[in-house]
């Protein structure tokens, strides 16, 4: 049992981080905290991708011996490249989310989603700023 957990520790880290992020997205009322949760959630997936690209005994995917006489095992570089793209996406999602939060604060004077719903319920249909 211990070995089973220890062997797959990269998956456990990804799962724990993912659940922390997911909890923040679901349970927190503060919108910025939700965005932080989303970031943790996405980071867990990035770590998962990076960890599966590791090859036993592998080294960084740079050609160490151009002449090609030594046998070198390389890690798989493709997941790293994919995650580079996914990180860009994650950063832009965060930027858009924070932009929307600024607008919400200007309009409602609050960034708690339950307070915003209450304000909207009491005095709806005002033009946005």
């Amino acid at each position: 049992m211990i070995e089973f957990i220890a062997d797959k520790y990269n998956f456990w880290i990804a799962i724990v981080l993912m659940m922390i992020g997911f909890y923040a997205i679901i349970a927190k009322h503060n919108l910025v905290k939700k965005v932080i949760g989303l970031n943790i959630f996405q980071t867990s997936v990035f770590l998962f991708y990076i960890s599966i690209s590791k090859v036993n005994g592998g080294t960084a995917p740079i050609i160490w011996h151009p002449e090609g006489h030594a046998e070198v095992v390389y890690d798989n570089p493709l997941p790293h490249v994919l995650i580079l793209t996914a990180i860009v996406v994650s950063v832009s999602v965060t930027a858009v989310a924070l932009g929307i939060i600024v607008k919400l604060y200007k309009n409602y004077g609050s960034i708690e989603d339950d307070e915003i719903k209450l304000i909207e319920h009491n005095e709806p249909e005002l033009d946005s700023k």
């Binding site: 997205i25 989303l38 996405q42 998962f48 599966i52 999602v93 929307i100 989603d113």
Partner: protein, 502 residues
């Protein structure tokens, strides 16, 4: 010149959108209306290219386009067959008509100085969807999915009310969670096979369906895409997003974005998950059919209790996405064709309905169903169009709604999923109830004093004409249904015949 367009047509359908999105704000510096013409020309060009692609793959073999000349498993490949070129044409046509519609409506709904940015983001939104449809690389699909989603969040936030920001934020959180689930699924598939090209994935996954890795991948991808599609228990972002966005965006989104997510699931179900064969004792199509049935009934029932016209149409959209899923999950040629036809038909009907709702909003700044009393006399043409579209939604013969329901029921009878038949008939009845309520208010009630606050006396020509084109097509393709039916039957044959039957 023509040669250049024909050989590079697959990639040009996306490149025109990226160029358009860059040029629209530049032209907007000179004059706002120039950015409108930029969006109009871009979407028109992409529609011409999509129709060219559709006819070329209908008559010949599927097209393969290698980006940069790299061979498929290493480079990114664009692959056009009948299924995706059909949906490409639908999406580009709806987006083209929405641009025309927007010429009249966004002047009253979006601040003048935001117009160039609006067109730029709108073109990115459509371009991302074209990318999802045309690419044959699963990670490329994820990137395009995020492009279209990010543009979608920005477009919803441009709505007139301040709650638009909250609607956009909720969609952002749920949409990102869905897309991240999709990313995890891709990671597991890559772990098992070491490839991202769909054709290559399909070959390498043969015989690996019993492994837990592939099952987890399928679970994550299906749940993530169902979030994007707003299937019933995961639909919470959609009603607010459609209600509080500008009318033109409600119309364009209702016709395109959830359909494209549905296409993604259909493509993955058939090419790599092998829904035809079934795996490790799990009845995959049975699960999807049960979820889709619940979606159809729940969407229709919740729609009955709505007081806002746009929100009612949004819940109706949730129900209608179930038809597309139910038809395509049955692994039957006729049902698949019915589901595919419903993508076209629902895109036309729901886009036109949101356009009519936008027309009511333009004239009276209200879409509450109670405020629409007696509107049949004040806006006879718009109300008549609404009536035709309602009949089409219910599925009266001679309208497009009938054609797709007919084929889905035919396929259900053939493949033995009898439970689908009462679900579809019951849902037609529920549709009749909630549209009947609106039609009753429109034609059979006297207008009240409270709703006389007329904002604009006359609805612009652009809004009326684009809606009228869609209403005309609803009837035209309902009577002369040969062309779409033949195309979708051939697409169904190609997709289902590609793999062994169970």
């Amino acid at each position: 010149m023509i040669d250049f367009f024909t050989t590079h047509a697959p990639v040009l359908t996306i490149v025109v959108f990226i160029f358009g999105a860059l040029l629209a704000p530049v032209f907007g510096r000179i004059n706002n209306s120039l950015s409108y013409y930029c969006a109009l020309i871009t979407t028109a060009l992409s529609f011409v290219l999509s129709v060219y692609l559709l006819f070329s793959v209908y008559n010949n073999a599927p097209l393969e386009y290698l980006l940069g000349g790299w061979k498929p498993p290493y480079g990114i490949e664009y692959r056009v067959d009948i299924l995706n070129s059909f949906i490409l044409s639908v999406v580009s046509f709806v987006s083209f008509l929405s641009v025309i519609y927007g010429y009249g409506s966004i002047k009253s709904e979006i601040y003048e100085k935001r117009h160039p940015a609006f067109y730029s983001v709108y073109l990115l939104f459509i371009g991302g969807m074209m990318g999802i449809l045309i690419t044959n690389d699963i990670f490329n699909m994820y990137v395009f999915l995020e492009i279209t989603s990010l543009a979608g969040y920005a477009l919803i936030a441009m709505g007139r009310t301040r709650y638009s920001y909250m609607a956009s934020f909720n969609y952002l959180i749920l949409g990102s969670v869905g897309a991240t689930f999709f990313l995890i699924g891709i990671g597991y598939l890559y772990m098992q096979t070491g490839t991202l090209n769909l054709t290559d994935l399909a070959q390498r996954l043969q015989g690996h369906f019993d492994t837990n890795v592939v099952l987890v991948a399928i679970a994550f991808i299906v749940v993530g895409l169902m979030l994007k599609m707003a299937v019933f228990p995961l639909h919470f972002w959609l009603p607010d997003a459609y209600t509080y966005s500008p009318s033109v965006i409600s119309a364009a989104m209702a016709g395109t974005s959830t359909k494209v997510a549905a296409y993604l699931l259909i493509r993955l179900m058939y090419t790599i998950f092998g829904i035809q064969a079934g795996f490790s004792g799990i009845n995959f199509s049975g699960i999807i059919i049960v979820i889709a049935s619940i979606t159809i009934l729940a969407g229709s029932i919740i729609a009955i209790s709505q007081t806002d016209l746009k929100k009612m149409l949004a819940f109706s959209s949730i129900g209608q996405i179930g038809y597309i899923l139910i038809g395509t999950a049955m692994v039957n040629k006729y049902a698949f064709a019915g589901g595919l036809l419903h993508i076209l038909n629902h895109a036309m009907m729901k886009t036109a309905l949101f356009m009519v709702a936008g027309g009511f909003f333009y004239k009276f700044t209200s879409t509450k169903i109670n405020d629409l009393k007696g509107m049949g006399r004040q806006m006879p043409f718009a109300s008549a169009m609404f009536l035709i579209l309602s009949l089409s939604m219910v599925g009266i013969p001679l309208t497009v709604g009938f054609i797709s329901k007919w084929y889905i029921i035919l396929g259900a009878a053939q493949s033995g999923y009898w439970i689908v038949v009462p679900v579809i008939l019951l849902s037609s009845l529920l549709t009749a109830i909630y549209f009947g309520r609106v039609v009753h208010n429109l034609f059979f009630k006297d207008s009240e004093a409270s709703n006389t606050g007329i904002l604009h006396a006359k609805i612009p020509y652009s809004m009326v004409s684009s809606t009228a084109v869609l209403v005309f097509l609803c009837i035209f393709f309902g009577v002369f249904a040969y062309m779409p039916v033949e195309i979708s039957l051939k697409a169904a044959e190609n997709i289902i015949g590609a793999m062994p039957w169970k």
